[in-house]
């Protein structure tokens, strides 16, 4: 169930709110660690996406639950609250094994995930947080 990638031009405010959660984390970590953390967040989100795509296509409930579990924590930690909420919904839906609702949630979640990874990639290459 490969989803169309969202444009990197997606509104950062819609993805990360006021951005304070991520900014605070990176500020607290200091310049050297901040860059590593930002890269790792991007890597983890990308890996989650890679694992979630086939899981959604195959309706692999265990894998969907595991990947959304990671996404709940990760998105919530960096303040991506819309993605966080979608991940909670999809995780709950996977527990209930509701195929229809899973299909309905998959598209917006993957779009947000794509947009967020693109946004973070831009910040990594731009050297900013």
């Amino acid at each position: 169930m490969e989803q169309p990638r969202a444009t990197p031009l997606s509104d950062p405010a819609a993805l990360l709110g006021d951005g304070r959660a991520l900014t605070d984390i990176l500020a607290m970590a200091g310049p050297a660690s901040a860059a590593r953390i930002l890269r790792q967040i991007h890597t983890d989100l990308s890996e989650t996406r890679r694992a979630l795509c086939p899981a959604l296509a195959a309706i692999d409930w265990t894998a969907i639950r595991a990947q959304t579990h990671i996404l709940i924590a990760l998105a919530g930690t960096i303040g991506a609250m819309r993605l966080h909420a979608l991940a909670i919904d999809l995780n709950t839906t996977a527990h209930a094994q509701d195929k229809g609702r899973t299909a309905a949630l998959a598209a917006p979640l993957m779009a947000d995930l794509d947009a967020l990874t693109a946004l973070l990639a831009g910040r990594i290459t731009g050297g900013g947080a």
Binding site: D24, I25, M28, A29, S33, R36, I37, Q40, I41, T43, D44, R65, A66, T68, H69, I70, I72, A73, L74, A75, G76, T77, H84, I88, N91, T92, H95
Partner: protein
């Protein structure tokens, strides 16, 4: 801030591990990290870490299993479980298995560091001189600090053991038991034996406060937020910051306030009535009811999600009639205490009285027993306590005899006509007072006939006095 031993962080998502590590290091802690259960167990054994932050979902093993292994090897360690939303039930299971605290991801820095500080503080011998027995299992544990918690029956030995094991964690304790069985003393024992013993213990009876004032009592209010709010009031939750909040008769809390309590439990923040900003507090919750809480959930009286949040470590206080010789131990202890207060000399219970006490059903439990002993001490000069010194209703060994013929159907009472036209509250009071008079003022007997908890009756009587 830094403890001598490092904290052990077991988290498999690399970026989250890095973030948590940065937060902890920034706060002055030394941190050891592991990304799998196997690595975590090795690091646990090699480092001697005493506080462990443990993700429940690990790639190679269930985090709960790992925690149980660690606690089996070193029961004194404090494990803070961290989990995402979907695994609350598992976290509850973890608390029952001995976790110190659980945090639901994502959590803010304050909450995270607060949990770690609590765990470290609970380990400090300076703050908890007799509570944290970092000793081999065979070592005799220090006596439980239970104050007036008298009784050496098997039932109470189990209660003492449970309090001892749960006190050191942050787990919410849910105490059930009939009215008068000592639920508040149990809550106090949990507090007194915890790392929070030096903090406040705030008790609030949810059934005794008018529902429209309860929110203000629990969460506080700011001046001018409603008529009568003439000054800022912090509320019980804020007053219990750093200590324990005991919510008695929790099942009598109004549904709207249950929602707010649930939010409080999820966020650890309180927002006083009329305040614009929430405030973080660090409170351990102990609650109690004389009802069956699950039945209250089934009846729709109590929120199911709140029930699961609160019902982490249940403790059931047995009724006095099931505690064997505890009744005479408690009676003797109370006799000595009341006699000293009244300046009289009693020589203990005679065998007849002791045997009678063991036979009685004690529907009002310890509260009723203490009233009987107080009556004996006040009404007599001293000497051994004999049956003739007891109040009539106790000396009459039947204790409680249902009055089949005494309560005629209401429709046959000529007095019924006199009730018509009166407010329901007034009718209730008339009926309660008449029932009490019928049973010579015995609240337990009247309560049983009225099918009310004795505590409810006591509360109503107190309210009418005011």
């Amino acid at each position: 801030m830094t403890d001598h031993l490092p904290l052990l962080l077991i988290e498999d998502t690399p970026s989250l591990q890095m973030v948590y590590r940065a937060v902890l290091t920034n706060a002055g802690h030394s941190v050891l990290c592991a990304g799998t259960a196997a690595e975590g167990l090795s690091a646990f054994r090699a480092s001697g870490a005493q506080v462990i932050l443990l993700d429940l979902m690990l790639p190679d093993r269930d985090g709960l299993d790992l925690m149980q292994d660690m606690l089996a090897e070193r029961p004194e360690v404090s494990v803070i479980v961290i989990t995402a939303n979907g695994s609350i039930n598992k976290a509850v299971e973890a608390m029952r298995a001995g976790a110190h605290e659980f945090l639901v991801k994502p959590f803010d820095e304050t909450r995270f560091l607060g949990a770690v500080d609590n765990a470290l503080a609970g380990r400090s011998p300076r703050r908890t001189p007799s509570v944290r027995p970092a000793a081999p299992a065979a070592t005799v544990l220090p006596p439980l600090q239970t104050g007036a918690f008298v009784g050496s029956s098997d039932a109470m030995a189990k209660i003492h053991a449970k309090i001892r094991s749960v006190a050191r964690s942050m787990a919410t304790v849910f105490i059930t038991g009939e009215s008068g069985t000592g639920k508040e003393l149990c809550a106090l024992a949990v507090h007194d034996n915890s790392a929070r013993a030096s903090g406040p213990f705030i008790a609030l009876n949810c059934g005794a406060i008018p529902q429209d004032l309860l929110e203000s009592e629990v969460f506080g209010h700011v001046k001018g937020s409603f008529t009568g709010a003439i000054s800022d009031k912090p509320g019980a939750a804020a007053a219990a910051d750093g200590g324990t909040l005991f919510l008695d008769e929790i099942c009598e809390m109004a549904p709207a306030l249950q929602t707010k309590l649930l939010r409080f439990l999820q966020t650890s923040t309180v927002q006083p009535v009329g305040a614009t900003r929430p405030r973080k507090v660090n409170v351990r919750i102990v609650c109690a009811t004389n009802q069956d809480p699950l039945d209250a959930v089934r009846r729709g009286q109590f929120r199911e999600d709140l029930y699961y949040r609160l019902y982490v470590v249940p403790i059931h206080m047995p009724p006095l009639r099931e505690r064997g010789d505890d009744v005479t131990e408690i009676a003797e202890a109370a006799l000595a205490r009341f006699a000293a207060e009244e300046g009289r000399r009693f020589e203990g219970l005679t065998p007849e009285v002791a045997a009678l006490f063991r036979r009685l059903p004690w529907p009002g439990n310890i509260r009723q027993l203490l009233n009987v002993i107080r009556h004996v001490v006040v009404m007599n000069e001293g000497g051994p306590v004999t049956p003739d010194m007891l109040p009539d209703i106790v000396a009459d060994e039947g204790g409680f005899t249902p009055p089949p013929a005494t309560l005629a159907p209401l429709t046959q009472e000529p007095a019924l006509e006199a009730l018509i036209g009166r407010p329901l509250a007034e009718i209730e009071r008339i009926v309660i007072e008449a029932t009490l008079a019928r049973f010579d003022g015995s609240v337990p007997k009247a309560a049983r006939v009225l099918e009310l908890a004795p505590s409810t009756l006591y509360r109503k009587l107190d309210g009418w006095k005011g």
